[in-house]
């Protein structure tokens, strides 16, 4: 029996712009929820953020917006005026979830705080996404990608000169959205079991400090013995660190057409030896005395380097991984569309967009029967005004009046 779409019947109202909120909304839309994106009249700011496909700053060609807003319907609304608020109240009355990313206090300013929303719709889940949280001393503080990494993650991510650097892209904001999506699903579960809606306070700050990427481990380590993650400053001439485990090939190695990342733990030495199949290397690792000699590390490095240098990245990776030795090719994101694995699994797909034309899109983050589908491309601003407002019960005349008044 084919199961229904994963999030069948779930109605989500997205009052969010930028990256985190829309990414949370995208996960719902891509897995079958009906997501209506309520945009301000000048649109989600991400429409104006790069990279742009046409090379210009055409608001319908932001790769970021096109990625984050698949499968959503877009309507425009100004909820700060009386009429706009009343329309929003009607939208809220038939929604299961509201995801919003306005500055803390904005909804209350419209007269639509969580208590008011609950009075309209008792089982509503409200997920608020902000830089630092809905209350507390930093409530009104602002955020940006670099600020989020400064809060957690950057202290142990350093350039060769010791300066902290961001991880690149918009990873912190995506992760805040990812976590908000999970928290929202927990709140939906709660609401469906009890009939009582819950307000989720999703912040970039907590997403960063509460991350698995070392942040929480290091916090516990600090509580255990007082040490902090500040790394020793490497000098610019220092070669990349090879191994914290002794003379084992670790780090990056050059291949014919680029480089690979190599991870060798003590337990994986046999796997490495099988993959490289070098008699001298095998001899070194069966001779504890030789292994302890200071010049052995360099010899191991030479043998491994020579093995990698005579191979293409993917060949080295495939041969090593066949033995269970963690070697991976370092690729550029532009190579993913032609990567056999990602093509075969539909991780990167080709679609047609009415404005952007032939467009590469990203496939599902996870597969499940009746799960992910690409039903419609990211919407134009207000593209679904008539459709959604008519569904809501507004007449064509109402809609044109509201348009003339600037409400829609």
């Amino acid at each position: 029996m084919t199961p229904p779409p994963l999030l069948d019947g779930l109605r989500v109202l997205e009052l969010a712009t930028g990256i985190a909120g829309p990414y949370a909304g995208k996960l719902y839309a891509d897995y079958g929820a009906d997501v209506v994106k309520v945009e301000p009249r000048d649109g989600d700011e991400a429409r104006r953020w790069g990279p742009f496909l046409s090379g210009s700053d055409d608001p319908d060609a932001s790769a970021l917006f096109l990625h984050l807003n698949t499968n959503k319907r877009s309507i425009t609304l100004d909820p700060s005026c009386d009429r706009g608020r009343k329309v929003l109240e009607r939208l809220i009355s038939i929604a299961d979830v509201v995801i919003e990313s306005y500055r803390p206090g904005t909804l209350e300013g419209w007269g639509l705080g969580f208590e008011k929303m609950k009075a309209i719709n008792r089982s509503l889940t409200l997920t608020s996404i902000s830089p630092f949280g809905q209350d507390g001393p930093y409530r009104d503080y602002r955020g940006s990608e670099i600020v989020y990494w400064a809060l957690a993650g950057m202290n142990f991510t350093r350039e060769w000169d010791g300066r902290p650097v961001v991880l690149g892209g918009n990873l912190a904001q995506y992760q805040a959205g990812n976590l908000a999506a999970a928290a929202t699903m927990a709140a939906v579960t709660q609401a469906e079991l009890t009939g009582e809606g819950v307000h989720v306070d999703a912040s970039h700050f907590l997403a960063q400090v509460g991350s698995a990427s070392g942040a929480m481990t290091y916090l516990v380590a600090h509580a255990y013995n007082g040490r902090t993650s500040a790394p020793p400053r490497p000098s610019p001439e220092a070669p990349p660190m090879r191994s914290p485990f002794g003379p084992l090939p670790n780090g990056t190695f050059r291949c014919i057409d680029g480089a690979v990342m190599v991870n060798t733990l003590q337990a994986w030495i046999p796997r490495m030896l099988r993959a490289i199949g070098n008699r001298e290397l095998s001899a070194i690792f069966s001779d504890p005395l030789r292994l302890a000699e200071p010049e052995t590390a360099e010899r191991i490095n030479e043998i491994a380097s020579a093995w990698f240098a005579s191979r293409a990245r993917t060949d080295a990776m495939t041969q090593a991984q066949r033995e269970g030795w963690p070697v991976t090719a370092i690729q550029d994101p532009s190579e993913l569309a032609n990567d056999l694995h990602f093509r075969e699994r539909g991780a990167v797909i080709e679609t047609d967009h009415p404005v952007a034309g032939r467009l590469t899109q990203i496939g599902p983050p996870f597969h499940i029967d009746g799960g992910w589908s690409q039903r419609r491309p990211a919407p134009g601003l207000g593209e679904h005004n008539s459709e959604v407002y008519v569904e809501l019960g507004l007449s064509i005349e109402d809609i044109s009046t509201y348009q003339a008044l600037g409400v829609i």
């Binding site: 999030l7 990279p51 742009f52 932001s62 930093y138 602002r142 940006s144 670099i146 600020v147 202290n155 991510t157 350039e159 902290p164 690149g168 892209g169 995506y174 992760q175 990812n178 999970a182 928290a183 699903m185 927990a186 939906v188 579960t189 999703a202 907590l206 509460g210 698995a212 990427s213 929480m216 481990t217 290091y218 916090l219 380590a221 600090h222 509580a223 013995n225 902090t228 990349p240 990056t252 050059r254 480089a259 991870n263 003590q266 991984q321 269970g324 991976t328 370092i330 994101p333 993913l336 569309a337 056999l340 075969e344 699994r345 991780a347 590469t360 599902p364 983050p365 996870f366 499940i368």
Partner: protein
């Protein structure tokens, strides 16, 4: 913990995850009230799960410059280091630990009996591991058709990378994460590494499971979730992949981006002290000028537009550093934020424990354990108006819950329990091939 009102109360999860990504997913489930039972094999120490290595010496712990290796209470690995490592104890709270060697026929049988009384199975090993034991989704679903199974290997359950092994740090370069990190002159090989993949997978795993459980409530149907950690990471760089496919390259830009100028990490008073500042508009630039005391250089018309500030960003960085270098990073942080400019000190762990916002959010909470004593731990990044998230028991030591799991949950007879012990399944130690503690 009946009566908590938490949404996953009464749900049982079998957790055979290693390292961080899978355990991060099950941490959310346990915090939300599920009974999470870690099924751990005492005959195989999985690296970076309960420590990087099974038995580091106190000297090695003290000398390590990496907190994964030095993260033991008072730098003492103790008698059973696997119960004391921060690598495990950041996520293990609320979970139970039972030991079982599922590679042995009697272990496999016992695992299937646990499957019969569970709702969810989570694993993140190379798929061939369970498949070789005939413990794939088909076999599990045969025993329990409404089971939801989350398998989250790096490559997913199909395709050429299916059984690839490695940690988050080894894999991020494969999807391109090393190509846009660091200074513009930094090559992907020399870019600093990260473990963002673990973070991203853990949250998506929780989302996927909660969604599948919702559908199960409505239809009674179980499900198999095939979560490729690599593909989940591709989601988080979607715009870069989409643009890249059209030949638009997004290379490393250091601490700058195309929406903020100036933006950077600036040195402050003290050793290795930094503040990040991010200016998003001309108004914010004027506010920053004002904070700096409206110096003459800042009045140069070339700095009045974002394009101009981007063009001479190097000069701007030197000037701003000249302002910040004598100031306390927290003063710059609060001054900027009060003026509506995004900023933050580069915080280390001590800073975070002392942070008033995290204190307000109740992020740090104490737990006491016979293995580690009493310490303050980071809690859940989830915050809501619903019932308090579970904060019940500290991370379990290896096999601490064998009695509970086998006698109370499975209701084994004394003879059956004894047979498990005789067969070498029950242990509080990791064992070598001879069955001696490692």
């Amino acid at each position: 913990m009946p009566g908590s009102g938490l949404p996953l109360e009464g749900l049982r999860v079998l957790d055979i995850t290693v390292a961080w990504s899978g355990p991060f997913t099950t941490m959310f489930l346990a915090d939300l009230g599920a009974e999470v039972i870690r099924v751990e094999n005492p005959w195989a120490f999985p690296s970076s799960t309960r420590g990087v290595s099974p038995r580091p010496t106190p000297e090695a712990v003290g000398a390590a410059n990496n907190l994964n290796m030095s993260g033991y209470p008072d730098l003492d690995p103790g008698e059973r280091p696997w119960n004391r490592s921060a690598v495990f104890n950041w996520h293990g709270r609320n979970k139970r630990s039972a030991t079982l060697d599922i590679r042995k026929p009697s272990g496999r049988d016992m695992f299937l009996r646990l499957v019969e009384v569970s709702d969810v199975v989570v694993e993140n090993n190379p798929p061939k591991l369970l498949d070789a034991l005939d413990l794939g989704y088909e076999q599990l679903a045969q025993r329990n058709p409404s089971l939801v199974v989350l398998r989250m290997p790096a490559g997913g359950l199909t395709g050429p990378y299916r059984d690839f092994v490695g940690f988050g740090g080894s894999f991020e370069g494969l999807v391109g994460l090393r190509s846009f990190r660091g200074y513009p002159t930094t090559s992907p090989e020399n870019a600093p590494g990260s473990l963002h993949m673990d973070t991203a997978s853990g949250a998506t795993g929780a989302f996927a499971l909660l969604a599948a459980l919702r559908r199960r409530r409505r239809t009674g149907q179980g499900a198999l979730i095939d979560l490729s950690q690599l593909e989940n990471l591709v989601q988080q760089i979607g715009e870069i992949v989409i643009a890249g496919a059209q030949g638009i390259v997004c290379g490393p830009t250091g601490n700058r981006d195309d929406r903020h100028a100036p933006q950077g990490v600036y040195p402050c008073a003290g050793e290795d002290r930094w503040v990040a500042i991010s200016v998003a508009s001309d108004d914010e630039w004027c506010a920053l000028k004002h904070l700096m005391g409206n110096p003459a250089w800042a009045e140069d018309p070339k700095f009045s537009t974002a394009d101009g500030r981007m063009a001479d960003h190097d000069e701007l960085d030197l000037r701003i550093s000249g302002w910040t270098e004598d100031l306390d990073r927290y003063d710059v942080f609060h001054l900027c934020q009060a003026a509506g400019i995004a900023a933050a000190p580069v915080m280390d762990e001590a800073d975070l424990y002392a942070d008033p916002q995290l204190a307000h959010l109740g992020f740090f909470r104490p737990l006491e354990s016979p293995h580690t004593g009493r310490h303050t731990y980071p809690a859940s990044p989830l915050r809501w108006s619903g019932p308090s998230l579970r904060w019940e028991r500290a991370s379990p030591g290896l096999g601490d819950d064998n009695e509970y799991v086998y006698r109370e949950v499975l209701k084994l007879t004394d003879d059956e329990y004894q047979a498990l012990a005789t067969d070498g399944h029950l242990s509080n130690d990791y064992l070598d091939r001879q069955g001696q503690p490692l």
